[in-house]
């Protein structure tokens, strides 16, 4: 016996009417300035690396290394989750967010031990990014190899 006054479709309509939507414009602004700031710091690091004559290959690696170190440190001292709550994609998309997604499970699952805890769970969040990132780079590489005769 159903007492429900609404069909699922009618109910879904009511739910979306009564659920406040995320504040999109505010979210865009926060993501923009925090994400932009992280990128500006990255660019500054690269320019600095250039003055150290690290070379074309090493400079970007130096930048990435510093940002990953910063992201991991901020995760460890419990600051990055607050930044993330504020900035959303602004702090999730840059490489510092990638560092956060690896460091957070490392902290969380250390109580399950080094093998089945940290070892097994370290890439639970970053795993999909790595898997599909590497897979798509292979696809792009093959596509490039096939068409390079026409392009170049």
């Amino acid at each position: 016996m159903s007492r429900q006054p609404f069909t699922p479709d009618q109910y879904h309509e009511l739910v979306s009417k009564l659920t406040p939507s995320s504040r999109m414009l505010r979210g865009y602004w926060r993501a923009f300035w925090v994400g932009g700031l992280i990128c500006a710091v990255g660019q500054a690091l690269t320019l600095w690396a250039d003055t150290l004559h690290l070379g074309e290959v090493t400079s970007p690696m130096f930048t990435t290394g510093v940002l990953v170190f910063a992201g991991t440190t901020l995760t460890g001292i419990g600051v990055y989750d607050r930044i993330g709550q504020y900035a959303g994609a602004g702090s999730a998309i840059p490489v510092t967010g990638f560092a956060n997604s690896v460091a957070a499970p490392a902290i969380e699952f250390q109580r399950e031990g080094a093998v089945m805890g940290v070892g097994a769970r370290l890439f639970t969040l970053a795993g999909p990014v790595l898997a599909y990132g590497i897979a798509s780079s292979v696809v792009v590489g093959i596509a490039y190899w096939l068409i390079r005769g026409w392009v170049l």
Partner: protein, 337 residues
Amino acid sequence: MSRAGQQTFVYDRPPAIAAHASIVGPKEGQGPLAEWFDTVLEDDLLSQKSWELAEMEMVRRCVLDALNKAQLPSEAVQAMLGGDLNNQIIASSFAARTLGMPFIGLYGACSTFAQALVIGSALISGGYLENAACTASSHFCTAERQFRFPLELGTQRPPQASRTATACGCALLTAEGEAPLRVTQGTVGRIIDLNITDANHMGAAMAPAVFDCIAAHLADTGRSASDYDLIATGDLGWIGRNLLLELCAAAGLDMPADRLIDCGASLFSREQDTHAGGSGCGCVAAVSCGWLMKRMEQGELSRVLVVGSGAMFSPTSSQQAQSVPGIAYAACIERKD
């Protein structure tokens, strides 16, 4: 008459609530109900090695606190009925291991406390038990890692998401006793699913089940909502509470808005940034054992319907894109003067 209608138990020998105890975490202790809880934890790890052990310790302390108030030794407890949100309800069963009580483990997601009251009262009324410790707990940090993400991950939560309360409540029911509060009726709800697939929106997933349970309770007992001083839902949050009011209005069930409160929506203030409000097994348990029962004992309220609500999903069902079914149990608590 020990039964009314399709879903309601009417207890012939309504058990007394001999004692009740509540423990909440630090954030809950900054909320508007802080003064009503027996214990506000300063350290939500409770000096333990893991969050799961911390939750277990919280349950243990809460049950012992209730027993102390009733001056009942733990060996005299005939059954502990309880559950939590952890896989295989480890917080409750590990606490029961330490307490050494006969244990009936329950799972009704966040409705577990009301479920324990309904079943515990039936067993006492039926003469199978002389007393029962009914409990339920939840911990923000155990729930986050099991259902969502690691604590330190920088994610944003949508406005409809709720915060799992770090809280535990225990009500000690006895067959005999002079205590003023009695559990007089209990209604077992149906699983209702209106195909909400957003596991963040538990208020929306559970509101139809809560509506169904309240409607069944009122139909079975021949009462109306205004026969209650308060109808306290578990953890619909403020969006879910609004949905429940809409459901009642559309079904022609008279539900005075000033008599309908939600424990989750009451536990935190809006400034605490918990979005839709508090949730978790411990939310309705601690708010009932703290705020509601104390107000009843002070004579401010004389008949309250506690409606615990649960979202019966798991991370697996959610990842497999299944909808979130809801359940609710209602326990009627009355003051006998």
